[in-house]
Amino acid sequence: MTTDEQKAIESEIYAFIGQEVYPPTPAADDINDAMIRQWAEVMDDNNPAYLDKDWAGNSLRGKTISPPAMMYVWGQEGFQVTKGRASNAMSNLVSTFDKHGYTGVLGTNVKQEYFKEVGPGDNVTIEMIIDNISERKTTGRGTGYFFETLSTFTDQRGEKIGTQRFKVLKFIPQEQPSAAATEDKLDVPTRIASPRGHDNKWWWDACDDGTVLIQRCKSCQTLRHPPRPMCGECQSMEWDSIESTLDGEILSYTELHHPKIPGYQYPLVCAVIKLAEGTNLVSNIVGCDPSQVHIGMKVKGVLEQVDEKTMLPQFYPA
């Protein structure tokens, strides 16, 4: 992007600073116990200040209050948002960003400050403006701009209850090598991606290519796993690798029940396996009932595609 192009975009987006998203709008319903009760039940919040009239009557406040974190709730638009929202300064700002390629969106910070407690019978009015937009920044997610909305909340007497600042990053999404290919297939969650760093990427890459390798010190021939840069025996940093036959024996194992993680098949047995070559490998035991798995069990590994994009050794009873 040239400096002139960037200036042109910025003159468009900075024009939104100070624009009103919502003019002062009173909530359709006054603060009420029914909504507070629903909120408190879901949040598992038993604070007696919210619903216990007897306790609250004798408390320093003398009456119940709305949970402060409900401040934004009272003015919410409701179920109609599932059919789309009316355009306003914020949606216009977002579509301006989108038009110029800043299609990524990420809420990064939200800060609520409370100046006054309110309770049943009070009415909350919300007013929102676009308060500020940052200069162009490079972030881990991509290059973009932060914009911040400022909501101000007042009660029916015009007294200020609190404010909310909500910061959003609009960014040009970075190229995700596999994103385009899998975008329309995300209904099948995959396993958590293997962590491929400087010192272990080669091991995972070999799995992708169909072999399970064991790192070997070039100087003293000691095998080691998981992969790391230096031999623990002789401190040499020269290494190569051998291919494992995937014959092994279970040293220890556990069955994972809860929480069930998207992308994994259950029952899920994880084991530490002593390979015939001498190193240990953590993997899954499959092909038998979990109740049959035991320490000392002989197993044989097969490199399998376990989901859309992951190759892993899986071990069967030998």
């Binding site: 974190a69 948002v81 910070n109 992308g263």
Partner: protein
């Protein structure tokens, strides 16, 4: 009112750790949290809508995270504490099946004003930090 004790400034010191709390992230908590905060964005109640934006399942809305963070703070302080601010940085999504562990620590205390700052984190067991931030409470000066 002994069953609802509120901490006073005199009982609190900087460095005090709050007890950890585990919160199971269920579909019920995500969907009902969204409805209880009148947040009807489809990504919080429709799995298909969440998957269309690249996540495996419905994910927790910000207002529920704010609610859980406030509840964690006032569970510790007791009901006479007045919540002054919740400043929250958002991290990885909370998805059904995860377990979020919330921790907190007293990081500032002003005995004159009764204001106490709690650094609170909520980390889930799969993707890590979901929320971190500061809750400021005003505590009674004496019990």
């Amino acid at each position: 009112m002994s069953e609802h004790k509120t901490l006073s400034c005199a009982e609190v010191s900087v460095g005090d750790k709050l007890p950890a709390a585990d919160i199971d992230i269920t579909t019920g908590l995500v969907v009902c949290g969204a409805l209880a905060t009148r947040d009807f964005e489809p990504v919080h109640h429709s799995k298909a809508a969440a998957q269309a934006v690249g996540l495996p399942d419905v994910f927790m809305n910000i207002l529920t995270s704010q609610g859980l963070m406030t509840r964690y703070a006032t569970d510790w302080s007791g009901p006479e504490a007045v919540v002054k601010s919740v400043d929250l940085r958002l991290g990885a999504p909370n998805i059904p099946g995860m377990l979020m562990t919330v921790n907190g620590e007293v990081t500032a205390l002003n005995k004159q004003t009764g204001l106490v700052d709690l650094a609170v984190t909520g980390e889930n067991n799969i993707w890590g930090m979901h929320m971190q931030g500061t809750v400021q409470l005003a505590l009674p000066k004496e019990s």
